[in-house]
């Protein structure tokens, strides 16, 4: 972190206001308000790791908050253990809980994940009430009043503020670290398109679990602290759906998936609701809830991307005009793509043996065996619906064959059979999708970086690789545009670039030329040539015969799920069976 950059020093100055304002007023109410702001902002920031970065809408996050509160209070009551230690035990419990809950629930999308998290929250709350001998039941538990820093209990308000502020800083740091690391990029990739993420070697379940574990642990720590601040805990308040919604809402209003959003959302909405409650006090008890509800609906209808999502870039641009923000000079180019041509050119690298795949009664792949040699370009042709893409999906792990094996030769000569898309990608099988799957909201550069992360953890290095791959695929001028703004040709090249950035040894191209204009086709052919020149094998499904014929060393014809023919291009296209498969019997009769 460069402290001289205006973005950094301004953020730190703004953050310090959270301490300066209460200390300068000295009023107990202001202290209380700022303790609330700091702890809710920390909760929202922690929630944002799961709800924003990973895109899993949890509405049961109070489970971790409550677990932290209960574990540390119970340890203090029964074992006389200081909450400074107890909170870590609570965090450990929350981590275990998080893994148990999330593992099965990650399969669920949209509202189902949210409903599952609510159900878990309810179950835990009811169990805590039920086990009253241990937890105090619905009546709750009082924290033993042992005043002293070692017990996290103070008479004055200010030490609580310092602790809450400390937690906020820690969660912000964790969040900042994630956002600027490979994990951050991977989380966005999984959130946007899980399939495409797996194709560049991302283990979707693993990255989501890491996010949940970090978020749960942080939430739990804040829960432990809050129990000490409130000195009384009960299931209704600790495991509350309302609290879960509130923290999610602060993050949404500030901007999901942004770093400062959850904090900004809290700073704006929480005082508003607290003040409304203060002013209207007697007028009615529902006021602050009503404010929350109305603000939430208003935001969702007007700026659903949140304050930071909407205005963040503009503010950053102003800030960057301040002194100290000169852009760092680009680092000297290190060539990542070391020119070491493999010594095993010509030996098989990817082998499929007797693949069968059934979809119900449909025999989509019927005894397909094929082998790709290193440095070879193999064209795969066949009529529509012949099962070419199904074979590709088995060669890249997206579909498991009903029987048969796919083997890949690793760099050190071992033959392995990967079992998931991510493992295939790591073994060196890169692929594109017939229906392009760009990470639409990311820039072209970031899209390619996601592929590059397979071999590096460092975002700078990934950016370098992305630049090089972009040069290879004619995307250099488009590096900063958003992927969704590309033309069809650009998207197809981006698909290729992303796969290439993983430095594959075999590249599976699924109709990368379909729908391209003639100029783009020529460009694509040129790119595939360049790719092969670096020693990469290419297996391509292609309907554009001009491309298949000029590029392929060998052509495999697939028809009705089976390999019809496998040979050099000239023999294949003059074979009567192939013509029949494509054009029907009548065509052969007519020309005969």
């Amino acid at each position: 972190m460069n402290f001289l950059h205006p973005r950094v020093y301004l953020s730190l100055a703004a953050l310090s206001l959270l301490l300066i304002i209460p200390f300068s007023t000295g009023s107990n109410f202001v202290f209380h308000l700022f303790i609330l702001i700091c702890s809710y902002a920390a909760l929202a920031t922690a929630w944002n790791i799961v709800g924003g970065f990973a895109g899993q809408l949890s509405l049961g996050h109070a489970v971790f908050y409550g677990a932290g509160a209960y574990v540390s209070t119970l340890l203090m009551l029964h074992l006389n253990l200081s909450p400074w230690i107890g909170m870590f035990v609570g965090a450990a419990v929350s981590i275990v809980l998080a893994v148990i809950i999330s593992w099965p629930c990650f399969r669920l999308r949209g509202p189902f994940f949210a409903l599952a998290t609510i159900a878990v929250l309810e179950v835990i709350r009811l169990l805590v009430i039920n086990q009253h001998d241990f937890t105090g039941g619905a009546a709750g538990l009082a924290v033993p009043l042992k005043i002293g820093a070692e017990w996290m209990l103070f008479r004055a308000r200010w030490p609580y503020l310092l602790i809450a502020f400390g937690f906020l800083v820690i969660t912000l740091l964790v969040s900042w670290k994630i956002k600027h690391s490979r994990l951050g990029y991977y989380l966005i990739a999984v959130r946007e398109r899980e399939d495409a993420a797996q194709a560049v070697g991302v283990n979707a379940v693993k990255v989501k679990l890491i996010a949940v574990v970090l978020s749960a642990a942080l939430t739990s720590l804040i829960g432990s602290f809050h129990a000490m601040y409130l000195t009384f805990i009960e299931p209704g308040a600790m495991f509350s759906l309302e609290l879960s919604i509130q923290i999610a809402m602060f993050a949404l209003i500030g901007g999901l998936g942004t770093l400062s959003g959850p904090l900004i959302g809290t700073v704006i909405v929480l005082p508003l609701a607290e003040l409304a409650r203060g002013w209207l006090g007697d007028a009615g008890s529902g006021v602050h809830g009503l404010v929350y509800g109305l603000v939430l609906v208003a935001f969702v209808l007007t700026i659903p991307q949140g304050l930071v999502g909407r205005f963040g870039e503009r503010v950053s641009r102003w800030v960057d005009k301040l002194p100290g923000s000169r852009t760092s000079s680009p680092k000297p180019k290190v060539s990542i793509r070391a020119a070491h041509l493999s010594t095993t050119i010509g030996a098989p690298i990817l082998v499929a043996e007797n693949l069968h795949r059934y979809f119900g009664g449909l025999h989509a792949t019927n005894d397909v065996s094929l082998s790709v040699k290193e440095g070879e370009i193999v064209g795969v042709i066949g009529p529509n619906g012949a099962g070419k893409t199904t074979v590709f999906n088995q060669l890249s792990g997206f579909i498991q064959p009903s029987s048969g094996v796919v083997k890949v030769r690793t760099v050190d000569g071992q033959w392995i059979s990967p079992s998931s898309p991510a493992e295939f990608a790591i073994a060196g099988i890169g692929r594109t999708f017939q229906i392009v799957q760009p990470f639409a909201d990311l820039s072209v550069c970031e899209n390619i970086m996601l592929g590059a992360f397979m071999h590096t953890r460092d975002p700078e290095e990934a950016r370098q690789i992305a630049c090089e791959v972009a040069a290879l695929t004619d995307l250099t001028q488009l590096l900063d545009s958003r992927a969704k703004n590309l033309t069809v040709g650009g998207m197809k090249r981006l698909e290729m670039a992303r796969a290439l950035a993983t430095r594959p040894r075999v590249l599976l191209l699924d109709e990368v030329m379909a729908g391209l204009n003639p100029t783009d086709v020529t460009k694509a052919i040129e790119i595939i040539r360049r790719v092969r020149a670096t020693g990469v094998s290419v297996l391509m499904i292609e309907h554009i015969m001009q491309a298949t014929m000029t590029l392929s060393d060998r052509i495999v014809v697939i028809s009705s799920g089976a390999v019809l023919m496998d040979g050099d291009p000239q023999t294949v296209v003059s074979n009567p069976e192939v013509i029949e498969a494509y054009l029907g019997k009548e065509y052969n009769h007519a020309t005969a």
Binding site: R107, A119, L127, S285, G286, V287, V297, L301
Partner: protein, 292 residues
Amino acid sequence: MEIFLQLLLNGILLGGTLAIISIGLTLIFGIVRVVNFAHGEFLMIGMYAVYLMNQHFGVHPYVAIIPAVALLFMLGAGMQRFIIQPLLAAEGHIQIFATVGVSIALMNAALMVFGADVMTVNNPSGLGTGSVGIGPLRASTGQLLTFAVSLALVGGLHWFLHNTFLGRAVRATAQHRNAALLMGVNVNRIYIFAFGLGCACLGLASGMIAPQYPVFPTFGTFFVLTAFVIVVLGGLGSLSGALIGSILIGVVDSLAGYYIAPDLKEVVYFMIFLAILIFRPTGLFGAGRGSE
């Protein structure tokens, strides 16, 4: 054995009450594809409407159903038109936040207007509060009536969706929004109608259950989570699934409350809920689109 049979009967009858509440939710999800987290609050509003009509005009809750249905239809249609429709193209989590926001706002508005007191309708006629004997068993007449009405509601909706022009347009929209649009269906209007219809079911529900349940601002949350469990269990969007799911959950509720522990019965069916979500997210009777 007699206790078991009585519990079973109680469970099935409770299922009728749950069904009448859940049908609207599954209808809205099946057609508009929005999970309405404010469903419970609409029920709460219906209950207050019935209560107010009962207090001011002395009408029986069953009579108050007619205006309650009209009121809730308009509320639902308004919600669709002004809150959901602008967000149809938005991401799923945005819609969830929107309905959650409406839910919080309505619940707290009720708290401001009516206070936190529990209010009960006056029912001097006793219709809907007594009980009848069936052999050695007892059944509440209110619950029996509610059960019959919910059966009729499912039947009626089914008939409507399959035998009228509007019903067909609704089903077409549910199956493929854009294809329906191309066939000349005014999709936005269908959505408004469907949302209104789903909420109107709650107007019916609030009149039917008012003799048995008092109303308070958080009344909705009391039922809404159960309704979600039922709707997922039966398969989101399936009317008969919601009915069967309601009866299953009613029976589980009744049996678990007696044989396990009264305060753990919700744990039991939330566990069932989680198991369903994990192992069969399309629900027991769903059409196979549950994980969309």
